[in-house]
Structures are given as C-alpha cells and as structure tokens.
C-alpha cells in the first residue's frame, strides 16, 4: 500500500515537472502556430543560467607558485575564491542558494533570448510550412547546444540544492506512518514551483486584458489586427514568456539532473508527447497530460507490473500517447483545427 502511495506521489511530482517543461511548447503552438524544436534548447539554456551563476560565484584568483609543483608536474596553482572572500558570509549564502537565486538571473536572460529568437527568426516563419519551422528551429537547437558544448564541455555539471533542503521530507509522519514515505525536499519544491508557474501563465492569459487579446489573436489574427491592435508585439511577448518558463523549468531542474549540453534534446520528444496528448495548444491539456503520463510511468515502473508486462516502463509513455490519440482525435483537450493540416 505505501508502495502505491509513494508511486502516486512520485507520479504527481513527475507530472508537475513534465507539465512545466512542456508548458512553453504548448503556449507557442497555441498562440503562434509554430512547431518549436528549439524548445528543448531553451530548457537547456535555462539550466546553464544556473551553471553560469555558479561559475561567477566561484571565480577564483589564481596565483602560480613556481616553487611547488602539482603531482602531474605543472607549477602549483593556488586558487582563492574571489567573490566569496569579498562578500564574506553573504558570499557563502549566495553559493549555498545559487540555484534559486539564479532564477533572478535567468528571467531577464531568457526573456532577451526569447525576444531575439522571435524577432530575428521565428517571426519570419509564421506563414511558412511546419516543415520549414522544424528545420530552422532544429538547426537553431543544434547551434545553441554546440555553443554550450564548446564552452562547458559534454560532461554533466552538478548543481547543489541549498543545504537546508538537501535530503528528504518525512511525509509519512504527517499521516502517522513514520519513516515510510520520505520524499526529497527539492522535488517537493519543484512540484510547488511548477504549479505556481502554470497558474501564473494561466492567469495571465485568462484574467488580464493583455492575455485576452492574445487569446483573440490565437483565434483570428487578422481581425484583431484590423482592430488596430499590434498583435505582432504581443506575440513577441508570448514567445518571451514561453522562453522564460522553459528556462525556469531548466534552472530549477538542475539539482535533480546535473545539466549537460544535450539535456534539451533528451527532453524534446517527451515534451512533444505531453503537448500532443494534452491537445495542441491547450494549457490545461498539457497539465493534465503531464500528470497522466507521470503517474502512469511511475506505476509502470513497479516490479509487480513489470513482471506481468516486461519492458512496459520503456514504452508506457508512447503507448498511452497512441491509445489516447486513437480514442480522442485531438488529444485530451485539443481544439478543432489547430495543427491539423
């Protein structure tokens, strides 16, 4: 029983992460009608915002001591952490909380990246066939990831969560089951964080006039344009928001998954499946699909299930995608006419 409870919890947690990672993708699909294969790259760039911030904090002064040599025969380099010694206790605090603090850094950076991408590239592809969009965004994704590889190498770069939230929370204790249901603090934080992000994006589109106009533009770009509204500008903002959400998903994911240059590609297929199962362009659908896939994946990984269906955990996500698309033509909550041609 507690095994099932744990897997349910785990599935919810996974689902939150999946929904957050896919959120920007479905936003761009729904509003701009663009198939963005560079979405994974944005997720990865976000994660590397955390890496860059961490690197900045750990800038060291290097003095070369010719009198001593390293065991591998080069002159000894004495490294002094610069920022930390400069700032004292505050420096230590910054280092400890580098991942959450780098959110502050990531928001403007990702916004700028998103706006530049939209203005410089994506905008010119609104009216082009989806095939062209795929090729150009895939090309961009490769370029971005190779640039990151050039500077940071191919090896994963670990990012630690703050010390207070290292380790796991004894959730079972709250339910009177001491020590049975433990779950890492950081994953719980990530879960809450993803709910907040999703709610914020949802509220923005649903409850602000700005969002209302964007939604109107989704339905009928031409008419909105005729009303004298600069819909292009709003689309730029939407793309910027999508980039920020993808980036934040990446930043917060770093303590769970040490980032490397390829992580964007690794999550690309998954996020596409989540978005399509949810229904193209539907925010609610993406969230629902994220939770559904997360929970089913968790249950499929249980040994009891695997002993009946060997290898089911390898294919469950795709199996669910096939079954849902065959029963519900537009995914869980897809609208008619979006991306069907």
């Amino acid at each position: 029983m507690d095994a099932l409870l744990l897997q349910l919890l785990n599935g919810l947690d996974k689902g939150g992460a999946y929904a957050l990672i896919a959120l920007g993708l479905t936003l761009v699909f729904g509003t701009l009608g663009v198939v963005n294969f560079a979405h994974g790259a944005l997720f990865m760039m976000g994660a590397f915002c955390a890496v860059v911030f961490d690197r900045l904090l750990n800038v060291e002064t290097v003095t070369i001591d010719e009198t001593q040599t390293t065991p591998w025969g080069t002159p000894m380099e004495i490294r002094e952490p610069y920022i930390q010694s400069l700032l004292g206790d505050f420096g230590a605090f910054l280092v400890d909380y580098s991942v959450p603090i780098s959110i502050i850094l990531a928001i403007p950076i990702m916004l700028i990246i998103g706006v530049i991408m939209e203005r410089g590239l994506i905008r010119h592809f609104y009216s082009r066939p989806h095939a062209d969009q795929i090729l150009v965004t895939f090309g961009l994704a490769i370029v971005l990831q190779e640039i990151i590889k050039h500077f940071f190498g191919a090896n994963p770069i670990p990012q630690a969560a703050p010390d207070v939230v290292n380790g796991s929370a004894d959730i079972g204790a709250m339910l009177g089951l001491d020590g049975i249901i433990a779950y890492p603090w950081w994953r719980l934080i990530y879960f809450v964080f993803s709910l907040l992000c999703i709610a914020a994006v949802f509220a923005f589109l649903q409850f602000t006039t700005y969002g209302m106009v964007v939604r109107a533009g989704m339905r009928d770009r031409e008419t909105v344009g005729l009303l004298g509204i600069d819909i292009e500008k709003r689309f730029t903002v939407v793309f910027g928001i999508a980039a920020v959400v993808a980036g934040l998903a990446g930043v917060m994911y770093t303590p769970i998954l040490p980032p490397d240059y390829h992580m964007g590609m690794d999550f690309l297929v998954l996020s596409f499946v989540v978005v399509v199962v949810g229904g193209m362009g539907s925010l609610g659908g993406a969230v629902l699909a994220g939770f559904l896939l997360g929970i089913l994946q968790s249950f499929a990984s249980m040994t009891e299930v695997k002993s009946i269906f060997p290898g089911i955990d390898q294919i469950i996500i795709y199996l669910v995608a096939v079954l849902i698309l065959l029963t519900l033509p537009r995914g869980l909550m897809g609208r008619r006419g979006v991306m069907e041609d």
């Binding site: 919890l9 025969g73 080069t74 968790s298």
Partner: protein, 450 residues
C-alpha cells in the same frame, strides 16, 4: 510520350558499363600489388597510418577528447618528436626507438563515433578504405567497441579497444583482431566483492538498479555473483531504461524494500543522474536493519565523478587505473601528460595511450606490420611499466590481466582531479578467470587484402 530513341535498358546498361570501367581501376590497383605476407593497409611508403576512432559528439565527448590527447602524445613519442619520458618505465621501451614504427613515421586519421554503432563503423570504414589505417583504436562504450571490433576482424585490421567494460568484448564476442587493455565487469565484481564484505559486513541485502542493455546485465550478474559469494543477499534487480533521466520511480521502491545496499549498474549520464537522485532521496542517511544504508557504483571514472559532484563522496567502485597510483609507470606517464596538457590524464587516456604503445611495441617485436604476426606478438605478451603493474595480454581471449583498483569518492577533494582515492589494489591473481566461462570464438588470424 517518350521521344527518346535509346531504350531504357540500353541506357542503363551503357551507364553501368561506363561506371564500372571508370571505377574499376581505383579498386583493383590496390590489390594488384598484393604479394606474400601482405595484410590490409600495410604501409608501402615511408609512413604508417593509425586510426583514432573516438566520440567527439554525444555524451562521452569529453572522454573522447582525453583519449585524443593521449593518442597525440603516443604518436609524438613514437616519432621522436617529444622525449620518451612517459614510457621510461615500460619494459618494452627499448624496442621503441623514436623513429616511428619500424622506421616508418606514424601519422593518424581521426573520426567521430558519436557513441553509436553505425556511426562508429562508418567512421572505421572511412579509416580503412580512405585513410589507409593499419590499426584502429578508441571507443567509449561496449556496443561501439564490439561493433567496430567485428568490422576490423572482417577487414583484417587490428583493433585496440579503449573504453569498453562489458564481459562480451573479450568473451562472447571476442575476435582474433580485437584486443582490450581495459578491465571488465567480471573483474569489477571480483575486486569489489571482497572489499564490500570487509567494509560493510557479510550480512547485507543488495538492491540492484541496472541499465537495461547488455553491458548493464553483465555488470549486474558479475556483482551479484561476487557479493553472493561473500554471503550477501540480493533483494531485487530492477532494469531501468537507458537514458531515463529521472530515476525517481525506480528509487522510491528501494526505500521500503528491506535492502540496505543499493548497487547502481549504470554508466555515464545514467550513473550521474541515478546517483545524484539516490543521494537526494536521503538513502545515505537511512538506517536499515540497524546498519547504515550504502550505495555502490561498480564502475567509476573521474569524469563521472565530476558530473556527480558531492554525491560521489564515500561511494565505493572500481577503476582500471588512477593517476595517483604509486608506481614508476604511472608517475612517468602522469608527469609527461600533465606537462603537455596541464592536467592529469583520465583512465580513458591511460588505456588509449597504453594500447597505442603496445601496438607499436608488438610491431617492433614482430619485425613486421603483417597483421597475423603482430597478433601473435601481442598474444600472451607479459609486460610492465605502463602504469598498471605487471600485465598479461592473455592469448585465449585477448584480455589484459592486471591489478584492479577499488576506489572511493573522496570526502574532501583538493581539486576536481582529486575526487577519488584508491582504497585497495586488488592483485591480478584474484581477478583472473578461466577464459572458457564466457564462451566465444576468436576466429582465424588470416590476413585480408583490402
């Protein structure tokens, strides 16, 4: 509608004939010089070409880059472009005179394996057909090594495998033209088994998470056998998909399984992720059956330790070699490498370097590049001084037998090259096994023309 007078059939025929006539010379010329004792790509000029087939893109690109550094260093030493300090302790150093191999200058071609069998084979084919490589070396995974090894067997080119840890490379899939210096999963199990029992006691229950492909399975089996021999029990062995990214759904059941040791049969990114997440789940602070919960990672590398960060602290595993080893060969190699590149070599670099030197040495001892005789020179070759202590290239399966290191993640590393400490050097005798246990057939050593 066709107004063409030429019939289609004639057209095709004519086209094919022209093509054959034009293309034929390119193909047959090479064979025309074939004479006795010629094997594939034997050098006829003043240069001999080696093929360095390493991952340059994909997850193991950093390992590949370090391998290339080592190859470059080996080539410089063989050609006499740099001093031979790095091999000063090598028992066969006298054979290598710094004038290339057998007086022929060493040049090389490189290629990207992408850590994919198809890409690695395509790259190796280019080296053989276009580059004229007489020997191919490199690799970063067992799938790639086995795929390239079988290609080399087919073409009659010697393959000196670098990073490959599966038992199959020199077991089930061993080949006459393939040689492995790196250790394997079986040796990891044997070396780790006794140390685990010493460290954690004989009353332990292990839970395995295993990458669901051939290397993972051989690793799991080897560790299971070795630990069960020590009296351990195995609670469960769960297979995880390659590249799962998030392993949480596999880690949660461990918490209440009653096991008190988690064995992660993962490599590369999988290992970095699963270890990071396992530690995050608080496994290492747990108490089960009155004992501290432990995590074990049977195969380690420095780069993986860097990727896992602080999660690696205190974790036991095995390694083929480490630059901190205290022997003359290691010191000489580490110093030379450090002077050249400003950092100590990884175990990938060391095995790549050793393989190149061993090949050159075998050619010198055989007095020829003729593949069957070079193979004979490598088979059963006992040597020392390349950093691993006394080492035997066993003739029966082309596996090197040497000491295996049990390493542990350091609690207080000085820098990013100081993440592992050597806990024990398990002597070669304890990890040697009977070659027949894995089956396989080396196949013939006949020379091939290409």
């Amino acid at each position: 509608m066709s107004k063409l007078t030429l019939s289609r059939r004639r057209l095709l025929k004519a086209g094919a004939a022209t093509g054959v006539a034009l293309g034929a010379p390119l193909h047959f010329v090479k064979g025309a010089y074939a004479q006795d004792k010629m094997s594939c790509n034997m050098p006829t000029g003043s240069e001999v070409v080696l093929g360095f087939n390493v991952p340059q893109s994909g997850p193991y690109a950093d390992e590949g880059a370090d391998e290339l550094r080592a190859y470059q260093m080996a080539v410089d030493i063989l050609n006499g472009d740099s001093d031979a300090d790095a091999i000063s302790a090598f028992s066969g150093a006298g054979n290598l005179k710094g004038n290339g191999i057998l007086g022929k200058k060493v040049t090389y071609v490189t290629g990207d394996t992408q850590t994919k069998s198809d890409a690695a084979r395509a790259s190796a084919q280019k080296m053989i057909e276009d580059g004229g490589a007489i020997m191919i070396t490199g690799g970063s995974s067992s799938g790639v090594a086995i795929a390239v090894q079988s290609l080399c067997q087919e073409r009659g080119v010697i393959f000196m495998a670098a990073l490959t840890h599966s038992n199959d490379t020199t077991g089930k899939d061993k080949k006459r033209y393939g040689f492995r210096h790196f250790f394997n999963a079986y040796m990891s199990g044997e070396a780790l088994g006794s140390v685990l029992a010493e460290e954690y006691g004989k009353e332990r229950t292990a839970y395995h998470l295993t990458a669901d492909y051939t290397w993972g399975w051989t690793q799991e089996e080897s560790i299971k056998n070795a630990t069960e021999k020590q009296g351990w029990q195995t609670a469960q062995a769960v297979r995880t998909p390659l590249g799962a990214g998030d392993f949480s759904q596999y880690i949660t059941p461990v918490l209440n399984s009653g096991a008190d040791v988690l064995v992660l049969n993962h490599y590369g990114k999988d290992m970095v992720n699963s270890l990071t997440q396992a530690v995050q789940f608080g496994l290492r602070e747990k108490q089960v059956n009155g004992k501290d919960f432990q995590v074990v990672v049977p195969l380690f590398s420095e780069l993986m330790a860097q990727g896992a960060g602080s999660a690696i602290k205190g974790i036991l595993g095995t390694a083929n070699w480490d630059w901190k080893l205290n022997n003359a060969g290691t010191k000489a190699f580490t110093q030379a490498f450090g002077k050249k590149y400003g950092q100590p070599p990884s175990q990938a670099a060391q095995t790549a370097f050793a393989q190149t030197i061993l090949y050159a040495d075998a050619c010198e001892r055989a007095g020829t590049f003729y593949a069957p005789e070079v193979i004979a020179a490598l088979e059963g070759y006992e040597h020392d001084g390349l950093g691993n202590g006394p080492t035997l290239y066993r003739a029966e399966d082309h596996q090197c037998f040497k000491d295996v290191l049990v390493v542990q993640g350091k609690d207080d590393p000085k820098d990013k090259f100081d993440l592992l400490e050597i806990r024990k050097i398990v002597p070669r005798d304890e990890v040697t096994y009977d070659p027949s246990i894995f089956g396989g057939d080396l196949g013939p050593a006949d020379a091939k023309q290409c």
